[in-house]
Amino acid sequence: MWPHSCFMNGHNMIVCGERELRGERRRKDGRSLLATAAPSFFVVVSLLVCARDVSAQRVQLVLRGGVAMSSTLVQERIGTPGLEQVIGAQMDDLVSAIPTPAASVGVGARVAFWPRTLLETGIEYARGGVNAKEDGGTRRIQDLGVLQAQLGVSWYARPGIELGANAALLRYDTEEQGIFAGGAGMSGAIGGRAAWTPPVLSGRIAIEANAQGHRFGTPAIQRSGGIDANVLRYGVNLRVQLAEVGR
């Protein structure tokens, strides 16, 4: 589907280099570690060559819109048997802060990088809220936005199907109160994405499902003895190719 970004045999050279990196040939035939590592420079060299060739590719500009969801941000056990006995009144067992489904929108650029492989970058913003869930029910705590910048690769697994992985820098955008009193800082996230391009509109639209994980903890949570842990974000997007630019 995509013209090769690299010269014809370059791909194989990368594979060879990776085998050296994985140590499959380490010390084989009495070679030194230095000599074993040397072929891995092909990886760097080839990436540089490919990067040069990427500039010759056409760049897809895409718009994304959809729904983003998240796992629980924090949970706190309040009512313990000992405490309930001392206080002598019924207590909430557990209270949690759970993000609501959020509307997300983003823009990105995609460029052919490798045979059947795309390099992707973009920014995305999701706006929703956070609910507190306790025994008495669920109530809104505050609005919550999540801004992220992503860099990733996608691979055409089969016609119309893409699989991808990405890394992102993610920032929570919200009022400094509650669990976000004192801010939330910036987190690194890694994730995966699958997309299906239906055979309509010349393949300009696609449906994407994505999931990513990041460490989460805020000064307010840490002050109360909480520990950082993993939060999963996932969502579904409609991707629309707005334009294709370049040579």
Binding site: I78, T80, Q142, S224
Partner: protein
């Protein structure tokens, strides 16, 4: 074998990914008694998610800003302890919108305290149960001819304390703890809600834990 290893690895990764940020539970020592000294003792607090409107009746003298600043500092601390926005202490500009009034003791009170007079102290929080419904607080009426009050709690700071700004900050922050429903005092001098003269104007871990537990305990009395 390789499949089994792959599945094991994926399962481990999935479980690691599902690890949830958790705040450990409080122990009995982390919390002091906060129940109102009724018979039997009762839990008093505002409904979860309340915005508690506070009118700072600071007068017009030089000490006015002192009272406003003390409220701002105290409210910010207590609000920061409400991790799940159980309450928000918010200042309002009109006494007609207020649930709570903070005032100097020597200023003419806009409130009629008849039958529920404040005690004399450096700082005191005054509230009374409703005569007809003891699960509610009495509403203090305005002095005639004004009507339409829904003030249920009044904080009075002894006017002579104005000469010591640091004490005013401590007193106001301490009394705001009572406004929230911490109806008793901590026996520990390191807590803001200590019974004697407070030695600190910031919340201790026990103050934060106590108000957090209070707002997840079923209330017998709501303002």
């Amino acid at each position: 074998m390789n499949h089994a290893r792959t599945i094991l690895t994926l399962t481990t990764l999935l479980l690691a990914a599902c690890e949830l940020p958790t705040v450990p539970p409080r122990s009995v020592q982390d919390v002091y008694d906060f129940k109102l000294a009724t018979s039997p003792p009762s839990v008093l607090r505002w409904p979860s998610g309340s915005t508690i409107s506070v009118f700072v009746d600071a007068g017009t003298q030089a000490r006015a800003q002192q009272m406003i600043d003390a409220f701002r500092l105290g409210a910010a601390q207590w609000n920061a302890a409400a991790r799940y926005r159980e309450y928000v202490l918010a200042r309002v500009d009109s006494i007609a919108d207020a649930d709570v009034v903070v005032r100097w003791s020597d200023d003419l009170s806009p409130i009629d305290f008849t039958g529920c007079e404040p005690e004399i102290s450096n700082g005191v929080t005054t509230l009374c149960l409703d005569d007809t419904d003891e699960s509610r607080l009495r509403v203090f009426p305005f002095r005639a001819p004004r009507t339409g009050s829904h003030i249920k709690i009044v904080v009075t700071i002894l006017a002579s304390e104005a000469s010591r700004p640091d004490r005013v900050e401590r007193l106001v922050a301490h009394e705001l703890g009572h406004v929230l429903g911490l109806a008793r005092h901590s026996p520990d001098a390191n807590d803001l809600m200590f019974a004697g003269n407070p030695t600190r104007s910031t919340l201790s871990r026990r103050d934060s834990a106590s108000v957090q537990v209070l707002y997840h305990t079923r209330a017998a009395i709501t303002p």
